[in-house]
């Protein structure tokens, strides 16, 4: 009887559905169509295209008739492919391992040991991430290259012991450089976890008679594991997708991203590149899934902030150890920036001291690179504006309207976040170069689209975060007061999530200025950017010119980050964690 009534109510509800739908405010659905269409054309279709191409014969022909596994067979037959795959694994895991080894103790020290200059350490710690990784790589060539300064000193110390430092070119250099580039993720995330872990839990352990070490092992550590796990995942994803460092100091050691570049640039073999891209994505996807699986298997309490002050170590011995350790790491990881600045004022630097002070490197910039500077500003600027609009709308719709399939949209929008830049460009190339209805290969448009696809997650995340903090009743109050969806969106939602939009956009802009891995496969003679110019200069051995350009790039990025941090308080630098 009751069941019957329930059914009746449900049937009634459905019959009324259409009438209700037509009476409703349809604007949000129309607005919703824009990002969905964009994603379908420029994300789904390229990815599907890439996946299909991965099963086609070597070359550039899109032929669904003949499918083959040739592209994947190479991983069993070609030694270059095998070595690249192995290298990618080794680089991915060892960089993750080293980043944890460097970053976790540093995070713990800064969070839990009495030290001076902690805020400075935290802001200096972020620098390696803000700086383009390939700039770090070529500055390490100056330091540790065949005739590098530091290598000179180190050999003086080690040669008598019969140890010779490995060459910076190759695996050692890649792992070394990437670890120093990516450890800040671990440092900052573990610092956050160590300093915000609920101090009451540790106090309770202490009151029950547990010693310090015991508490660290049984309470503190298990509580920060999720944060450290997230940081490790981030490092792995970035390390395995990094193009700049292996391209500059990989030497004859290829990794998957450089192998993709090699297939496209050397052979114009999009199908072969797609196979490699698929393998690359599968590895990343597997690691991502495994990390989620591990975390979900253990019931961790989410680390929550509490008002109780965390006790800090005050013992002189541990304070000295902590200070020395942190300074040592910071100096090493900041060495590239200093080297780049010095280098930019000299003609060459081989051996102990730089030689031939000059301003020519800077003077040459307007003549040689003005086009690239304008391109960088134009491409990054326009892409940022479009990304801000796209990301905000998607965030608003998924967060507020929760339409059916919001979960899929959420996953889709975050997908480019784990896709290596070279994979994104391969996907776009395979979808839109050649004789397709929308031929945008080699244009500004394809670069802007690739930037949008890659950076939408930044704005999306940032806006979604500010939306979750925005009480829905603020918007409901507007609806009740008689405002339609668009009026509410314009007058209430947008002004209130504006800080989120701005910080997401600035993050997008400052990372796009240094974008290399996507651009390198998509640029044409007219669309060269500053990072491409730097990369070219390094390849030609013009380190002075490369340094001067890098310094300019760094100055612009730092200025943006600094100004935003000043006006918005903290927060932007932490945004780089996801980037």
């Amino acid at each position: 009887m009751k069941r019957h009534k329930l059914d009746k109510a449900l049937a009634l509800g459905e019959a009324r559905g259409l009438k209700k739908f037509l009476q409703r405010d349809l604007t949000p659905y129309l607005v919703f169509l824009i990002p969905v269409t964009f994603l379908c054309i420029f994300l789904f279709w390229p990815l599907v295209n890439t996946f299909l191409r991965a099963f086609m014969k070597t070359g550039n022909k899109f032929n669904l008739g003949v499918l083959s596994l040739d592209g994947f067979k190479k991983f069993f037959t070609s030694s270059l492919y095998q070595r690249s795959l192995r290298n990618s694994f080794i680089v991915g895991f060892s960089v993750t391992g080293f980043s944890l080894l460097i970053g976790v103790p540093m995070g713990y020290f800064v969070a839990r040991v009495k030290m001076v200059g902690k805020p400075l350490m935290l802001s200096l710690g972020i620098l390696p991430v803000i700086m383009p990784s390939f700039i770090g790589a070529f500055s390490w060539i100056i330091l540790l290259g065949r005739q590098g300064v530091a290598r000179h000193f180190l050999n003086l110390a080690f040669t008598p012991l019969g140890i010779e430092l490995p060459s910076i070119y190759g695996m050692f250099g890649m792992i070394f450089c990437m670890s120093l580039t990516y450890y800040p993720f671990v440092f900052l995330l573990s610092h956050g976890a160590f300093s915000s872990a609920n101090a009451l839990l540790e106090d309770a352990g202490m009151l029950m008679g547990a010693g310090r070490w015991h508490i660290l092992k049984t309470i503190t550590f298990p509580l920060v594991i999720p944060s450290i796990g997230a940081a490790a995942l981030l490092v792995f994803i970035r390390a395995i997708g990094n193009f700049g460092i292996p391209a500059i100091i990989g030497g004859d050691q290829y990794v998957l991203p450089t192998l993709i570049y090699f297939r496209v640039n050397g052979f114009w073999d999009l199908n072969g590149a797609s196979s490699i891209a698929v393998v690359n994505v599968i590895i990343t996807g597997f690691v991502l899934w495994y990390q989620k699986y591990i975390v979900s298997r253990h019931e961790y309490e989410t680390v929550s902030a509490s008002r109780v002050e965390i006790k800090q170590h005050g013992h002189p011995a541990i304070r000295i150890i902590a200070m020395v350790y942190c300074l040592f790491i910071l100096i090493i990881s900041l060495a590239p920036q200093i080297v780049i600045i010095v280098m930019s004022f000299f003609e060459k630097w081989q051996g102990l001291f730089p030689e031939g002070f000059t301003l020519a490197n800077y003077i040459r910039i307007p003549k040689n690179s003005s086009n690239e500077l304008l391109n960088s500003l134009y491409l990054s600027g326009l892409a940022t504006i479009l990304t801000a609009i796209l990301g905000s709308i998607i965030a608003y719709i998924t967060e507020r309207r929760r339409p059916k399939g919001a979960g899929i949209l959420d996953m889709a929008i975050m997908a480019p976040f784990i896709l290596p830049g070279t994979v994104v460009s391969v996907a776009l190339l395979s979808a839109f170069s050649g004789k397709h209805w929308i031929s945008i290969g080699g244009t500004y448009t394809i670069i802007i689209i690739s930037y949008m696809v890659r950076r939408t997650p930044y704005v999306y995340r940032s806006v979604a975060a500010s939306l979750t903090q925005l009480n829905p009743s603020l918007e409901e109050a507007s609806t009740i007061a008689g405002a339609n969806w668009f009026y509410t969106f314009r007058r209430v939602s947008v002004p209130l999530i504006l800080p989120g939009i701005i910080s997401g956009s600035i993050l997008t802009f400052s990372t796009l200025l240094q974008e290399l891995s996507t651009t390198i496969l998509l640029y044409g003679a007219k669309t060269r950017t500053v990072p491409i110019q730097i990369y070219g200069a390094v390849a030609d051995g013009k380190l002075g010119e490369a340094s001067a350009l890098s310094v300019m790039l760094l100055l612009v990025v730092f200025a943006i980050v600094y100004v935003t941090n000043k006006s918005q308080g903290k927060g932007l630098s932490s945004g780089f964690k996801m980037g």
Binding site: K5, L6, K8, A9, L10, L12, G13, R16, K19, K20, Q23, R24, D25, N471, S473, L474, E476, A477, S478, T479, I480, A481, G482, A483, N484, Y487, R491, V492, P495, L496
Partner: protein, 376 residues
Amino acid sequence: MSLDLNYRDVTKIFGAGGKNPVRALREVSFTIQPGELFCLLGPSGCGKTTLLRSTAGLESISSGHIFYGGKDITSIPPFRRNIGMVFQSFALYPHMNIFENVAYGLRVRKTPEDEVKRKVTKVMELVGLMEELKRNPSPSGLSGGQQQRVAIARALVYDPDILLLDEPLANLDAKLRRYMRAEIRRIQKATNITTIFVTHDQEEAMAVGDRLAVMRKGIVEQIGTADELYNKPNSAFVANFIGKMNFLNATLTARGSGLSNVTLAHAGLEIEVPGARNYLPPSITPNTMVMVGARPEQLNIDISKAPGGIEGKVLIIQHLGQFVRYEVSVDSAISSQAFEIDMPALVDGVAEGDRVYIAIKKGKASLYLPEQGQAE
């Protein structure tokens, strides 16, 4: 001029078609009179907020109809319903000053500037915020009570047909709450807009509302004035939700039109209940287990055993000012819970731990059907 608001068979099912549909409202039907201040009262999850949000159009109902002045508004989208609403969190816009906050609904309606000024001033005068309007700060510069007034002003400024208040006092401290509920009643009476006031606090509901509806599990249990609900609760749930009611397990022995007789379980005591206080359904015949209800002030404590006295042991004595509350445990067959008994003054010779005898004052007992979950 406000009109009446009528609910007919309003049903709301969350997750319909899913595995666990939740029926938040089950065929709710009742009418709110024009200009009435009507309270929706009930424990959390009873459906009161869902009913309020459905009235606003923020939730769409699964079946049934809502009529305003005889016109079916069920399918009208919320922004065309001309309703004013005050949210629990006040939902004031932090990026606007209080003038713009209040003027919001007028701006939406594209009201001319001079009329906006006139109307905002008028409504701010009504809620008593003229001083603040001159300073015109942003909402964060106001106290909780002032923010509350701004929220009310914002909801009233465009002369809505219906005013909805969603637990409007929950975010205020106890003292301010008592003051503001009187203010809300004053403002509502001054504007005479049909108003629904949602709360889980029975004292607040009784103080504010012309009439109250007690809801539970998506059903309206009883509708009436505060006096009717307190003195004539028609179910054990309402009896214990509006004020405190002590319950005694008993067996119905005889049922008449004037008086009904029950025998208390185990104690063997006979109690007479007036017919008007018998809330048993007509189908209940003698030899059925029933419950006898008595409010704390309807019980008496004696040191010596009097006819009709139930033996008990004093657990706690609390002096609460106007009266003294005794908590007395009795034979668990009669009641598993300790009785609350309010005496006008301390009873001589009774201390905590003492044995006492409890009696229901003559003609004050009520009869209810036992049900699960009648206790809190």
